[in-house]
Symmetry: C3
């Protein structure tokens, strides 16, 4: 491993094909979209940042500890999560010397060669913090102090960064029981249409969710409904959706283990709900309940116009020891197969032909792109394919997405890019990667005479900006 200091240069042609014809076309296309405002309709930044506008405190705390994309790689190489300062659920001892953690980061930065994490991080170092050297052990401490210093300045406060990043819209994601105080605080600041929430009811529709009973009780208080009757429960959800819409939400989000949907009778629903509430539901009954709730949510979307996002297929907390010691979202969610064709049938039989319903499907199982998602979205009026997600939110992942989706679903059954991130500083970089890869794909189509140049310029704009706004009804 060479650790001598090298210049950090983000090459203007990065991620473009090295074929001269394609590269030139990519450049021309990219030039027209590079500076478009960012639409980020799905993500996980913390709304308190924008509500309170306090300075971020520390490089390690901001860039490593919350980012499971980063620390999972270190963990895979035998570095303990405790040594990376990841908090234990039992409050047990973990490393608190942030500089020491930062040095681990530097010493292992080579693990990220050719990964998106490396690309995002280099962008943050170069474009956000202005470094001109490649991060390495020799300059790690200097980076650390410089970053901390900058974070402490007004130009690096969350709202200043929102503006500097040219973010036109940023949707956060909150659980159904959230009181949305941060979004409420934004009202009247001029940012209430910039930072909006998204309704994510997993904690009250998934009996396996660790906060299920707690959130249910909370929702009872918030809505005055009898959440232990099926009808009251549904009404409570309706009221919560309404509350979220008052805080800007245009969309809901659903992160189920599978894409299973169901269409039970009201009597069956009432019985199943009672079983779920009793705490005696079997795994199958819980899965059926989640399935029914996806269909209920689609029905409510038809009522209130909210866009529905389904993010299925993560086998959450696959490493049970890590989950028990460190809690959820610690890099041990692993994708599994998803069967959209069979699983979505009940929902689609009920609502599939409604052209005023909008369901955006995401997947962690790329084998479904050409086989299932493109044919489904290329037929059903209500279905759109969400962008390459999570492990596949990467140059190769995005290329596979376009190459597999486009011929059957076209471009207009897709919805632009989502960054889906809690790493606020990486947002410009992530959108930049998506724009570059889309331009690269379009350039290839033009270079191979499969698309006209005129159309490519229109599409570059649509994929970078317009489709996201339209798909999430942000133009209203």
């Amino acid at each position: 491993m060479v650790s001598q200091i090298q210049p950090l240069e983000l090459h203007p042609d990065r991620l473009f094909s090295s074929d001269p014809k394609q590269r030139e076309l990519s450049r021309a296309l990219y030039k027209t979209v590079a500076n478009l405002p960012i639409i980020s309709p799905h993500g996980h930044t913390d709304p308190s940042w924008f509500a309170n506008n306090e300075c971020f405190k520390n490089a390690t705390e901001l860039l490593i500890i919350p980012d499971h994309y980063v620390f999972r790689m270190f963990y895979s190489q035998g570095i303990k999560l405790e040594d990376l300062g990841i908090p234990r659920v039992d409050g047990g001892q973990v490393e608190t010397d942030y500089l020491k953690i930062w040095h681990i980061f530097a010493a292992n930065y080579h693990l990220f060669h050719a990964t998106p994490s490396r690309m995002w991080m280099d962008f943050v170092f170069s474009e956000v913090f202005g470094f001109t050297e490649v991060f390495c052990p020799a300059n790690a401490e200097q980076f650390y102090h410089t970053i901390n210093e900058k974070l402490n300045s007004d130009e690096f406060r969350p709202r200043a960064l929102l503006k500097r990043f040219n973010i036109e819209l940023l949707a956060t994601t909150e659980g159904a029981g959230d009181d949305l105080v941060h979004h409420a605080k934004l009202k009247g600041t001029g940012l209430e249409k910039t930072v909006i929430t998204t309704f994510r009811p997993d904690d009250v529709v998934d009996p396996d969710n660790w906060k299920f009973q707690e959130t249910l009780a909370k929702m009872a208080g918030q809505t005055g409904e009898d959440v232990h009757s099926w009808n009251g429960y549904l009404n409570a959800l309706r009221k919560r959706r309404e509350f979220f819409r008052q805080h800007g939400a245009t969309a809901t989000d659903h992160g189920h283990p599978s894409a299973l949907t169901a269409d039970l009778t009201t009597a069956e629903c009432e019985k199943l709900f009672a079983t779920v509430l009793s705490g005696n539901a079997t795994a199958e009954q819980k899965e059926l309940f989640r399935a029914q709730m996806l269909t209920e949510m689609a029905g409510m979307s038809l009522e209130d116009g909210m866009v529905m996002q389904i993010h299925p297929g993560a086998r959450r907390n696959h490493n049970l020891q890590v989950f028990q010691q460190f809690g959820p979202d610690k890099g041990c969610d692993i994708p599994g197969r998803t069967n959209f064709v069979e699983d979505l049938r009940p929902l689609l039989a009920k609502f599939g032909t409604a052209s005023d319903l909008r369901i955006i499907l995401f997947t962690l199982d790329e084998s479904v792109y050409a086989r299932e998602l493109a044919p489904l979205a290329g037929h059903y009026p209500c279905l759109k394919v969400g962008p390459a997600w999570w492990f596949h939110d990467s140059p190769e992942g995005m290329l596979r997405y376009r190459h597999n989706i486009t011929e059957t679903a076209g471009f207009y059954n897709t919805v632009g890019f989502n960054d889906d991130t809690r790493a606020f500083l990486s947002i410009p970089s992530r959108h930049d990667v998506a724009r570059r890869i889309d331009c690269r794909f379009l350039a290839q189509m033009v270079a191979e005479h499969r698309l006209s140049e005129t159309a490519a310029f229109d599409l570059a704009y649509d994929l970078s900006y317009r489709l996201a706004k339209e798909a999430y009804q942000l133009t209203k």
Copy 2:
């Protein structure tokens, strides 16, 4: 969306790599196959066209209404099938103003950017009708009238087009109960060896087929067999195969939901058949019956030498509302997973080592190319891999096919190209796409020194022409 008129030019290098070395090799290879006669051994054109040789009537009626590749895309964007003139099964009101439908087509032509439908349609506009402008709302009406005028001329009669398209052989596909009057009418015209039929018995071997009982009864009349006894039923099928062979058929075709096969005893078959006839068969029994019938058909192929095609994996009529209102083949068939390795075992255990049996396997599940189909066809003497099919009959689909199949199965366990289309005018375009993509693939292999240039020229000919003739025994 720019709608100003642009020149329509089919670039001579379209679909080739933009890498200069590969492009030049592609050109050289393509030049030797571009004008070879078309062998179309599997498709769905209407034999009455060639039997009666009447003029096609109308652009909309010919190019939009029968083409579910086209109208499914419009439907996915919220345009009603009624507004596209798709006939309802109840005879209910649909749009009959063909020019109005044509305008919808023009207004939404951009939906097809970078799809094969767009490529085929541009070819038809340019090469078949001689247009020099890109189709758009501004010239839509002119296109419409010009096409209708041309369709009304002798040069655009079906037989004239057959000749102009340089079609050496065209196989249509008919159900087991079809009386083949159109093929009979071709006898003595000199076209009886050009337009042949294919035996597709789905309607009498699939108890879920809506015409099952009807076709069974018809077959009884046609063959004089007791089709309600297992033995009589099999004999009736033998006679129908013979009748189809008398009308040129060299192949059978089987479009089952899965690739499942079975090898039951005669007693089990008799019992299962009786259950199926009773109308009380469960879903599993019906699946088992289809499975057994694939094995029976393979056995009959060994007897009579017909090539067997298996096209499994379409989840037919996934959108039940559309099926109920508009019938089958309305763009709502969705692919699903297919498990060739387990499903074909019983058939292969019985007939797999017979080198005088020929079974051509197609798939809608590309994940099986490298994992299942190439290893199976690279071992079993009776198995060949059919070309990229349906949703995958596209530039990207064909490239994935060659990249995934070749290293394990080679080229000689594949069978050339099928267009599988009911869109007669698009046939030259579809074969042109296949030839270009094959030449592109071969050019890449040569450019990367993985194949000799000499071999590439041989293979270009084989993939474009020879293998299809041999695989379907059209040289006899």
Copy 3:
């Protein structure tokens, strides 16, 4: 088929991209690794070759009859295995005229166009035997006699080839009951650290293995343990692992039908083992036993430090007739789906967080690369992804591997290349293909500004040499 004689030239740029920029970078990278010693930590060469150092006898016997990659292709085209001299299990008549078989090989050599078998064989003809013409019917006999003559010379004895091939380490694979006489014979020759064994216990942990009872009995004699008690059985396995380590083994290998693991109680294990021994175990019980044994083997690896390799997913002997007539390893193993995410859970729940355990996962189901293996290896400390395997040990297979694995698992959760071959003469060629493809991949990353040139040179060395040594603990 052109059969005129053509010059045989292995182009120095073979397998590199034809893009000039990428090609030039590939050349520069490859130049630094082309002559590195070969580390072959997993393969199936015969240790008696190196122990006895006798001359190989015959071209057909060495290059065709044992190589199921080769004869499966001929079989798929209708050539009988008997005519290729493949021995029957019943000792029945097969072709013994090796020159006649060699002529079949020549007459059908075109079947391998663009396959890895062709690439390996051309390399053997050119680099190992020095031929300057492409193999074809016209020179087949000359090739045959020249090869036989060379094989009979001292320079072509196994140990001379080991040296000439620059093989630093070669691991063979032996069953648990093997007495390792050939490895014992190597002690004191200076080759005992060059040719080592690998512990493959399938024949004593898989009740479906045809040698299960036989090997169990043998192991009883070898270890003095009561192999019919659960505890004695485990101790016997421990002793055999120790015996293998004394003959150089650093790794174990497990070729199960699936990746299923289990974590039963001791009482359950004892009961299951008794059922297995009784010969009355159901298919499910046998699968559960194999599953439990993977977990037991992982536990023993933690005890003794051996690296564990899991090669799941082959549906062995799919063509039952061929198996019955010719035995195992006759080209009729077909890949199937593998579900690593669910199947490995029990083992990982028990040992997954141990950073001093090393499990290398291989797959025949490429759909799991990005969806399962990269996320698993990019998280669990004990897991690494083995190289592209068997049907996927090919240029395209290796490219898919890197493109699908790297972004989530990085390079450092992979383990370099394995040739996995019994075709000794092809070993240099196989490693050459792997090095070229890795350099090509790295060159693309550099050309697209996704990786620095400095890092690419480090990685070329690591992927070609260092990672294999480290992963298999060959540096100790």
